[in-house]
Structure formats: structure tokens, C-alpha cells
């Protein structure tokens, strides 16, 4: 994941989440309120059935059979919902049916949940053999056609009682509870406070009740609710088949089965019990949804994923794996930048392949709008490498994604132009854009393994991409895939083509991504933190390979990174971004050797250098990025700037030229002040 969305979220997670909560959960909550109201009504009818029901549900009146309900012209309010084939009052039987159905389901749920709760807690807490045995038993049960046995048993048992039904319905449910409870216990056991309690010698049983049960208690009611809904249907089904409650107990399923015989003259006798079941189960399920919202905090977390830590992926087989951030940076010492920058002359601006003009990108969220990119302009010449550097949340990845028109919803370009070879990418059709992607504009991303689908082989995905760019035979595409893997330094392309991304290291996957991107010989390659997730040796190898390929093909490269040392080594020109704006831009050599913006300077000072004696403290930049939803007037860096002046807090500086082709957005370089000299 590039830093686009975390940038949005890092902005201010709490309000963003609250926004989601109101819009989305309002509908949910309304449903939950309706559901629980319905449930309370139905449960009330069930509990007070003997007093609420207008008639004795068993009282027959053979003189008044199959009486129609009140809405029929022949109906009467005496039997509001009519009578059945024995003249019994339908409404009363429905109410008593609710009582029986809910009682059976509730009792069955209790049996299943208590068994499961006990099994899950024991299994999760003691682990080892107990756990294995319990879970095995569960697996066997899931592979067991329980319903078949239930039907056979209930079908032949003489003198069936409600207890039989409760046991048969309830017992198989234990495994669902046991699994969920077990996983909760396992998770909770690893928590710090439970571990600390264990270290302090707290007795196991005390830990269990004190710390683990409250967490477990959050999940069980939701499952229990859903279980009741399921059990109501199962109970009615068995009763419908004549295997459920004995005939003397009114039951919705049995009513339906009886009503079916008079389906033609009295269709309501079949329809009403079904509606009762539907309303009940619907109410129960909606209530369960509502409970899940209240109890399970996991569901309340937004869909925004946060990448707090970026850990290196599996190391390349040929490298040692102990590389700290400091060594990584030291591998690319800034002083080499001078020769690197001098190697290729910056392209003349007249032949620009890409011109970005005053680009603005916003993420409208409920109640607030995050301005991720606020007026960014730069040019990229053919065959030129542009480095974009900045912290997470500076807008550099969002800029890159908007060039590919790949912004995640709800992000959108709200202003400016992206001129690629003369056409404005912000205005062309989706189709035209899809035709450019991959073929003329290729991208590689930060997390190579996640950037490949786990369920298709490397070969499939490469061929798919290659064939997209020209009508090729499968063999032809395979050959191109093979050659491009070879070109990125993969020694045995055939083996890799048959493998899956999860079988390869992060470095190998990034090579695959580069090979795929370069196979179409794009005019522009955007590399968004291509090596951030990799260890330092792999990083160096891959960047070198990338540079060679790009140079050989004459591809223009946008290289996005938070690591200014890498930019110094690899880019012809550099753009430094901060809070959605460019604060400094110019030829790499010049920006690195003579940084003019205080932020660039701070970035360079935070890079460890091998020539400094050990013990010299690196300068960290104090303060944090501003909240991109409410960036104050004035220079966004002002709160952190060591040279801040009054004007900085009120006026956002323009891009002031500081040298030929070198600009800095800093009031220190305002024409009014330049004569005052460098700070």
C-alpha cells in the first residue's frame, strides 16, 4: 500500500471514522431499532400468550371451520385471522406458536452456547492436547450429516417430547460457539495485561474470569442471536415435516403443513405462519446486526488500512537480513549524488513528456475534505528521472496515482492539468486512460508481493499484461515474459514464471513488477517507493537494475521516495513535497548541495552519513505534518520551521526562483528579501 490512504486517515482518524459512522451506521441502526422493536413485540406475545391470545388455541369449533380473516368480505373480528380446518382460531394458534417456537429455539441456543462456551474456553486456555482433541471433534462433527440423523431419530422416537427437539437442535451448535470463543481466548491470552498477571502469579482461574471472559462476552450474544434465527427456521422445518413438536403444541411449521391441505380455498392458512416465521427471523437477524455494532469494535473500524510500520519483507536468499534504517541510508551517501546528477544532463524543458500544472486532489469525506495535493506543478523530460521526495502524507503518492488516474475512491482531481504527451489525462475517457496504462504509463508500487494477485501464477499475470498491449499468441507472450525477467536479473525465468508471488521474496516480486512494467516499453514509469519494503542490499541491486533499464530504453522515470539519499543518487531533478505542496524543486545536484528551503535542509540533515564521526546526533525535524483537512493559512511548514517569520504564518509563499531552474517556496527567498542574504 502506498501512502495515499494512510495519508488520508493519518490526517485525523477520529473525525473521519465518526463521519463513516453516522452515514453508514444510521441506516444500520434504524434497521437494528426496527428489528429489536419487532423482537420485543414478538417475544412479548410469546411470553404472555395465554393472556394475549383471544381464544384457546386448541378449542375446536367444527361449525365454523376455515373461516376467512377479517379483510375478507365474509370475515369477522371474532376470529380476526380466521379459523383452520378444525375451527381453531388462527390468531391464537400463531401467538402460541411464537411461544413454542421461541422457547424451543432459546432453550436449544442455551444448550449449544453453554457447551460451546465451556469447550472454547477450556480449549483456548489450556491449549495443547485438550485443544487439539476438542477442535478435532468439531471438525468431525462438521463433516457429519447431522441433520440426516436428526430426521431419522426424531422420525422414529415414540412419544416425542419438546425436550428431544431441544437436544437435537441445540447440541450440534456447540462447535460454532467453541471456535469463536477459543480464538478470542487465544487472542486475549497474548495480551499484555493477561501475561503480566500470569507473570505476577495470578491464578489461572482468576485470570480467566477477570480478563478473558469480558472479551469473550462481546462475541457470544451476537452469535446467539443469529443462532436463534437459524433455530426458529429449523424448528419450523422439523415441525412442518411432522418431526417436530407433538401435535398438541401449536407450531408454525405444523400449522403450515396443515394449512397446505386447504391451500386452494384458504391460502392464508399457509401464508400467515410463514409470514410469522419471516418476521421473527428478520427481527432476530436485524437485532443481531445491531448487537454486532454495539459489541464488536472490530466492525466499527473503518475500511481505511493504516500502515504504521513498514517492515522489510522476506530477505533475498543471498543477503544477510540485519539491516537497520541507518545502514540502509548509509548505503547511498549523498556525496555520490554530485557525480550521479552530473551523469545525465537534465532534459531541456521544451521536450517535456509530462507537464503537471497546478494539480489539486481532494478526498471528500463526510463532514470534511482532505486536500491531499494543493497545486503541484512540474515537468518531466523524455528520458529524464525525476525524484519526488517527502514524508508519508506529503501527497507524493497521491500525485503519482493521479497521473495514472488510479486514485482510490473518494479521491478525485479537483483542479489543474496533467498533460501527457499533449493530452490532458484529467479529461480523457476511462477507456482511453486504460489504453495508456501499462502501455505508455507504467507503475510499480511499494509492496511488490501485495501488488501481484496471490491466486494466479507469475506467468499468468505477466502474459495477461503483455497480451493486453498487443495481440500476441500465448507463446509469444511467454517469450517476452521470459526475456523481460531475464533483463531484470532473474537467472531462471522459467521457474519463476511457474511460481506464485507468495513463493518469492519481496525483492524477486519487485523484479517481476519491473519486468512487467518494462515489457511494454512504456514512455513513463512511475515507481512509488519501489524499494521501501526491501532490505538494503536488495534495494541497491534493484535500483541499479531499474536505472540501467530505464536508461537503455530512454524511459522517463518518476521515482517517489521518502529517502532523499536515494533521490540524490538516482534522480536528475528533484521535487521536495510537503503537505501537498512543492517546497523546493531543481536539478538534483544543486538542490542537494545548496538546499534553500528549510525543510529540504532538515531532510538532508536527518540523513546519516558515513563520514560523520560516531556519536554525532542526527537532527530530527520537530513537530508533525499539519492536518490535511484544515491546513492553516500561510506556509504549511511554518509551525516546524526554525526560521519562521511573521509573514510565514499568514501568506503561503510562491515558488521563488533561487537559481536557474531552481525554486523554493519560502519567504526567505522572496524577491523582497533576497538582498537580506541567506539565513
Amino acid at each position: 500500500m502506498s501512502d495515499a490512504l494512510p495519508a488520508v486517515e493519518a490526517a485525523a482518524p477520529a473525525p473521519a471514522r465518526r463521519g463513516r459512522f453516522t452515514v453508514r451506521a444510521l441506516a444500520r441502526r434504524r434497521a437494528a431499532v426496527i428489528g429489536s422493536t419487532g423482537l420485543v413485540l414478538i417475544a412479548g406475545l410469546a411470553v404472555f400468550a395465554p393472556w394475549v391470545a383471544p381464544h384457546d388455541p386448541a378449542a375446536q369449533d367444527l361449525g365454523n371451520i376455515l373461516a376467512p380473516p377479517f379483510w375478507d368480505s365474509a370475515g369477522s373480528w371474532e376470529h380476526a385471522l380466521g379459523t383452520d380446518a378444525l375451527g381453531r382460531d388462527t390468531a391464537s394458534r400463531l401467538i402460541h406458536g411464537a411461544r413454542n417456537s421461541l422457547m424451543i429455539s432459546f432453550a436449544a441456543m442455551l444448550i449449544g452456547s453453554l457447551l460451546g462456551l465451556a469447550a472454547g474456553i477450556v480449549s483456548g486456555f489450556f491449549g495443547g492436547k485438550v485443544d487439539t482433541a476438542t477442535m478435532r471433534l468439531g471438525e468431525i462433527q462438521l463433516a457429519f450429516p447431522f441433520i440426516l440423523l436428526a430426521i431419522a431419530i426424531l422420525g422414529v422416537i415414540p412419544g416425542r417430547t419438546p425436550l428431544h427437539l431441544i437436544l437435537v437442535l441445540g447440541i450440534p451448535g456447540w462447535i460454532v460457539y467453541a471456535r469463536v470463543v477459543r480464538s478470542r481466548v487465544l487472542a486475549e491470552r497474548e495480551r499484555d495485561h493477561v501475561r503480566a498477571a500470569a507473570a505476577l502469579g495470578a491464578r489461572r482461574s482468576r485470570q480467566l474470569f477477570r480478563y478473558v471472559l469480558p472479551s469473550v462476552w462481546q462475541v457470544v450474544p451476537v452469535i446467539a442471536m443469529l443462532d436463534i434465527g437459524f433455530l426458529v427456521i429449523m424448528e419450523s422445518m422439523l415441525s412442518f415435516l411432522g418431526l417436530g413438536l407433538p401435535p398438541r403444541f401449536p407450531s408454525w411449521g405444523a400449522m403450515l403443513a396443515e394449512g397446505r391441505r386447504n391451500m386452494v380455498i384458504s391460502p392464508w392458512l399457509s401464508i400467515l405462519p410463514g409470514l410469522a416465521i419471516m418476521l421473527t427471523v428478520l427481527s432476530v437477524n436485524l437485532t443481531a446486526d445491531g448487537l454486532a455494532d454495539v459489541f464488536d469494535p472490530k466492525l466499527r473500524k473503518g475500511t481505511f488500512r493504516r500502515t504504521v510500520l513498514r517492515l522489510p519483507e522476506r530477505a533475498e536468499p543471498d543477503t544477510a537480513n540485519d539491516h537497520g534504517a541507518a545502514t540502509r541510508r548509509a548505503a547511498a551517501p549523498p556525496q555520490r549524488s554530485v557525480e550521479a546528477g552530473a551523469r545525465h544532463a537534465p532534459a531541456a524543458s521544451g521536450s517535456a513528456l509530462l507537464r503537471v500544472r497546478d494539480l489539486k486532489v481532494e478526498f471528500p469525506l463526510p463532514g470534511r475534505t482532505i486536500k491531499a495535493v494543493r497545486g503541484v506543478s512540474f515537468d518531466l523530460g523524455r528520458g529524464e528521472t525525476l525524484g519526488i521526495v517527502g514524508e508519508s502524507g506529503s501527497g507524493k503518492s497521491v500525485t503519482a496515482l493521479s497521473i495514472g488516474q488510479l486514485l482510490d475512491s473518494p479521491g478525485r482531481v479537483t483542479g489543474g492539468q496533467i498533460l501527457f504527451d499533449g493530452q490532458d489525462l484529467t479529461r480523457i475517457s476511462d477507456r482511453a486512460m486504460a489504453a495508456l496504462r501499462g502501455r505508455r504509463i507504467a507503475m510499480i508500487f511499494q509492496n511488490p508481493t501485495a501488488s501481484l494477485s496471490p491466486v494466479f501464477s507469475i506467468g499468468f499475470q505477466m502474459r495477461e499484461a503483455i497480451r493486453r498491449h498487443g495481440r500476441l499468441h500465448r507463446e509469444e507472450a511467454s517469450r517476452i515474459a521470459h526475456d523481460s525477467l531475464w533483463a531484470v536479473g532473474i537467472g531462471d525465468p522459467d521457474r519463476v514464471l511457474g511460481q506464485y508471488p507468495f513463493q518469492l521474496s519481496g525483492g524477486m516480486n519487485q523484479r517481476v513488477m519491473i519486468a512487467m512494467a518494462m515489457a511494454a516499453r512504456p514512455d513513463l514509469l512511475i515507481a512509488d517507493e519501489p524499494t521501501t519494503a526491501l532490505d538494503v542490499t536488495t534495494q541497491a541491486q534493484i535500483l541499479e537494475r531499474l536505472r540501467d533499464l530505464v536508461q537503455a530504453e530512454g524511459t522517463s522515470l518518476i521515482f517517489i521516495t521518502h529517502d532523499i539519499a536515494l533521490v540524490a543518487e538516482h534522480a536528475d531533478r528533484v521535487v521536495v513535497m510537503y503537505a501537498g505542496q512543492i517546497c523546493e524543486s531543481g536539478p538534483t545536484e544543486q538542490v542537494i548541495s545548496e538546499p534553500r528551503h528549510p525543510y529540504t535542509r532538515a531532510l538532508l540533515e536527518s540523513v546519516p552519513r558515513p563520514d560523520l564521526p560516531a556519536g554525532v546526533r542526527l537532527e530530527a525535524i520537530p513537530g508533525e505534518l499539519p492536518d490535511p483537512a484544515s491546513i492553516p493559512d500561510g506556509c504549511p511548514f511554518a509551525p516546524r520551521c526554525p526560521h519562521v517569520m511573521d509573514v510565514c504564518r499568514t501568506v503561503n509563499p510562491d515558488q521563488f526562483p533561487v537559481a536557474p531552474d531552481h525554486r523554493a517556496a519560502c519567504h526567505l527567498w522572496s524577491p523582497d528579501r533576497t538582498r537580506a542574504g541567506t539565513p
Binding site: F146, I151, G155, L241, L256, S270, V281, L282, D430, A520
Partner: protein, 308 residues
């Protein structure tokens, strides 16, 4: 691999044997004397004793069980108590009808789920999404037997489009299959929706888009394969539910399948027939479970490659 397979086969055999054994003893212990049930009330004791001898129920229980297992191994499921028909023939005649019904229903349910789930995921929280979620909530609350009856009332009795009962031709499949498919679909719909929404947020989906793949290909190849995995898992988990649903649907539509066969045999206490039906249903259940696992391994390289 071979060890795993052998283990799996042993487990399948164990489950089948356990089901049959439990059914056998429950029938013998709980169900009362079939000799009295077969004969009309008031039949003289001698005839009842004769009937017992004919049915073999005069033997000790364990002896009956051993005989039953021995015959089972030879593929002999005995003869029915009533008509003296070979149980095996009756069961084998009924099985394809149930498999056709259940198979078509699963396919239809998966189809409904993929279409509705993808439509819902297209604009999460949009009106289409809410409609689909509403369908899913309603379908989950709808009992199969009621839906079947309502469909019959409307499409058979009212409109006379499809036959109300019996398996008489392709048209007679429509209502039973729809009934079963709709009751299977709600969880599948929600799973597919969730999977499509999650996949759209995945890095590889965006990377595939960046590679120039069109929306149609992205959805019909990449998102669909990701969504098919949980669907297959769920279908495996719902096999029991499917079995129960098939029994009910067969009862409603008078469908000549295993479910109806077992229900009828239960009514007449026809032990061999019940046992035969339970046995075949258990085998089908276990085998289908296995097939679902195989399918999953085939589709998900993480499982397939990880295990070998």
C-alpha cells in the same frame, strides 16, 4: 500427499460407518417392533412371530448388526419390509433425482450470489447495494417450505406455468430448484459482495489496473477468482443445510429423491429403507465435502502449493 489422502479416505469411511451404525441402533432400540407395524392391529401372535422371523428382527441386536454390515460390504442393502423390494434399487433410483435437484440449486445459488454480490459491490451503500442486502436479509428469514408453497400457489395454481408437484420434465425442476437456491443464496450473496469490495481495495487490484487491464477483465477474472474461494468454502459448510433443504423441498414437491424416500420410510417404519436412504445420503454428503475441498485446493494455489 498419499498419506493425507489415505487419512482423508479413512475419515470419510469412519463418518459413513458412524452414521449408519447410529441410525441402525436408534431404529432398533427406539422405534418399536416393526413386525407389529407391518401387520394390522389384532393380528395373532403366531403370525407376528413369523413376520419377525421373516424380517430378521427376532435375532439378537448385535447379530442383526453383524449380518447388516456383512450384507452391506457385499452391496446388499436388504429388502423393504413392506413390498419386499430390493432397497438398493429403490435408493439408487432416487439418488440421481436428489443430486440433480441439489446440484442445480447450488449452481443457481452461486450464480445468484456472483451476480447480486458483484452488483452490490459496484457501489457500496448505493441503492443497488441496499436492495441486494435487503434481498439477502429477506431470503435468510424465509423458510424453504413456505417459499415452496407460495411459489406453487402463485406459479402453478394461479398462473399455471409450472407443475405443482412431481418430477415430470425440465419444467418441473424450476420451482424446486428456485426454492432451494433462494434459501441457500443469502450468505453467499453477502460473502461475494464482501469479497468484491475487499478485492477492489487490494494493492494487486490497483496494480492490475495500472497494468492496463480493463474493468471487465478485472472483475470477471481477478475479483471473481478471489470471490469464488469463500463461496466454495461456504458451499461446503452449507452442505448440511442443503441436505435438510432438499428433504423439505422433496416433501413439498413430491420429488422422488432420497429425502422423500427417507420420510416415507420413516412413516412406515421400514428399517432397511431408512438405513439405505441414510447410508446413501451420508455417502453423498461425505463425498461432496471431499469434492469441495479438492475444488478449493485446485483454485487456491496458496493451499495447493503450500501443502506439497
Amino acid at each position: 500427499m498419499i498419506v493425507r489422502l489415505a487419512f482423508r479416505l479413512a475419515q470419510m469411511l469412519f463418518v459413513i460407518l458412524a452414521v449408519v451404525t447410529i441410525a441402525f441402533f436408534v431404529l432398533r432400540i427406539a422405534a418399536g417392533d416393526p413386525a407389529r407395524l407391518v401387520n394390522p392391529p389384532g393380528t395373532p401372535e403366531e403370525i407376528i412371530t413369523q413376520t419377525r422371523r421373516r424380517l430378521g428382527t427376532d435375532q439378537p441386536l448385535l447379530g442383526q448388526y453383524v449380518t447388516f454390515l456383512g450384507n452391506l460390504i457385499r452391496g446388499d442393502l436388504g429388502t423393504t419390509f413392506r413390498g419386499s423390494l430390493p432397497v438398493r434399487d429403490a435408493v439408487l433410483a432416487a439418488l440421481p433425482n436428489t443430486l440433480a435437484l441439489a446440484g442445480l440449486a447450488v449452481l443457481a445459488a452461486a450464480g445468484i450470489a456472483l451476480v447480486l454480490g458483484a452488483l452490490a459491490a459496484w457501489r457500496p451503500n448505493g441503492s443497488l447495494d441496499r436492495t441486494v442486502l435487503g434481498y439477502s436479509a429477506l431470503a435468510q428469514a424465509t423458510p424453504a417450505f413456505w417459499l415452496g408453497l407460495v411459489l406453487v400457489m402463485f406459479f402453478s395454481l394461479e398462473l399455471r406455468w409450472f407443475p405443482a408437484i412431481d418430477m415430470t420434465g425440465p419444467r418441473s425442476f424450476v420451482l424446486p430448484v428456485v426454492t432451494l437456491a433462494v434459501t441457500l443464496s443469502p450468505i453467499l450473496v453477502r460473502t461475494v459482495r464482501q469479497s468484491f469490495i475487499e478485492t477492489q481495495g487490494e494493492d494487486f487490484f490497483r496494480a492490475a489496473r495500472a497494468r492496463g487491464l480493463g474493468e471487465v477483465r478485472l472483475f470477471t477474472v481477478h475479483a471473481l477468482k478471489m470471490a469464488s474461494l469463500p463461496v466454495i468454502t461456504l458451499i461446503g459448510l452449507q452442505l448440511g443445510f442443503l441436505l435438510a433443504g432438499a428433504v423439505v423441498v422433496e416433501a413439498i414437491f413430491n420429488w422422488p429423491g432420497i429425502g422423500k424416500l427417507i420420510l416415507d420410510a420413516l412413516g412406515s417404519r421400514d428399517f432397511p429403507m431408512i438405513q439405505g436412504g441414510v447410508l446413501v445420503a451420508a455417502i453423498a454428503f461425505v463425498v461432496l465435502n471431499f469434492v469441495v475441498d479438492l475444488l478449493y485446493r485446485l483454485l487456491d494455489p496458496r493451499v495447493r502449493v503450500g501443502a506439497s
